[in-house]
Symmetry: C2
Subunit: 193 residues, 2 copies
Amino acid sequence: MTYADFMNAPKRRDRAATRSALLDAARRRFAEHGFDGTGVREIAADAGVDATLIFRYFGSKQDLFDAALATEVPAGLGERAAGPVEFTDALVREVVLGDPAGNDGEHPLLLMLRSAGRPEVRARLHEEVCNGYLADLAARFDGEDAALRAELVGALLLGMGVMRAVVGSPVLPAADPERVRARVAAMVAALEA
Amino acid sequence: MTYADFMNAPKRRDRAATRSALLDAARRRFAEHGFDGTGVREIAADAGVDATLIFRYFGSKQDLFDAALATEVPAGLGERAAGPVEFTDALVREVVLGDPAGNDGEHPLLLMLRSAGRPEVRARLHEEVCNGYLADLAARFDGEDAALRAELVGALLLGMGVMRAVVGSPVLPAADPERVRARVAAMVAALEA
DNA sequence: GTCGTAAGTCATCGATCGATGACAAGGCTA
DNA sequence: TAGCCTTGTCATCGATCGATGACTTACGAC
């Protein structure tokens, strides 16, 4: 079989593979161009399937976005570390230093951030950040400024993700992860007082 | 004159006022819903004018966006403070603690962040952050990790802006500005070594 | 007061968007 | 191999988008 034959050969019919390809393409497109900047035809073209299948398999573009968000939210951070420094360190390794292409795309928070223009997305982002990450962080601080200190640590982590994924600064990907972790730990430790 | 008369009275023709109203409405809409999530008819409706005037006065929706970005870039940060702590403090007061409604809308960086799906906007965001703010910051640090330390401070500042303007966390607006400045200063000071 | 320029309004275009329904064809089962 | 359900394809809809050109009317110069 020649290469042209291979390229023109009819695709195997595989519901699971098609769904998965659509999800992967959607994650990449939504992460890079946001919800409003992404068209269903572009997603389908990236996945190599017909755009109509998006609606057959997911119902609507919004449902596809929700499905792309739902995949593998890391979760389970609460039990892993006690102090704010260790907790932050775990988040740094997971959110910021994690291989962007190796896992399955971008972190859900950064994916939502790119589509924060839509009210539902913003509401969910607010909920997950404030009542999730920030609450977990604040519980690990003592003193009356716990909320403020948690906010600053959260801002640092979120900012690092934005720097890498949105601004595209080359510093964090090129830096030694151990040094990054040490510097962040020093900043968080400076808040314990 | 009754209220109805006032409302139905023909508007005064004022080129400058119309242009300004369009710019203000555009800044608000673009900052909240992003470039792709904002329509010219919505901007015009907010400004109380006809959508056609956008094209007459600015040429295109993209040109209006550029004009909204161009207004009052703070600038002139380079000469104001020498050390990284003082420099950061100046940025905190200006970018994060500034009254969002009092000035003229959101900081240009946050406005670009909301429309980072568009390649031109992302390129400009990358340019201004990396070759502007981060370079200024890195020049104020000593040692070989200057770029990394500048990146972390930049991430903290950017993250604080995102927390307030995108995530909508109520902590920073409600917090005592002096305490915020003190905590941020402690985090930045922890990087000097 | 008249008149011309500029500001505002209206109708509408072509493209693109998400979404739908009818139709063709593959693949498993009997 | 015959039949049926599922998967993929095609044509197309209605809404909305940015943008254009012609028209109307207010305001200031003279």
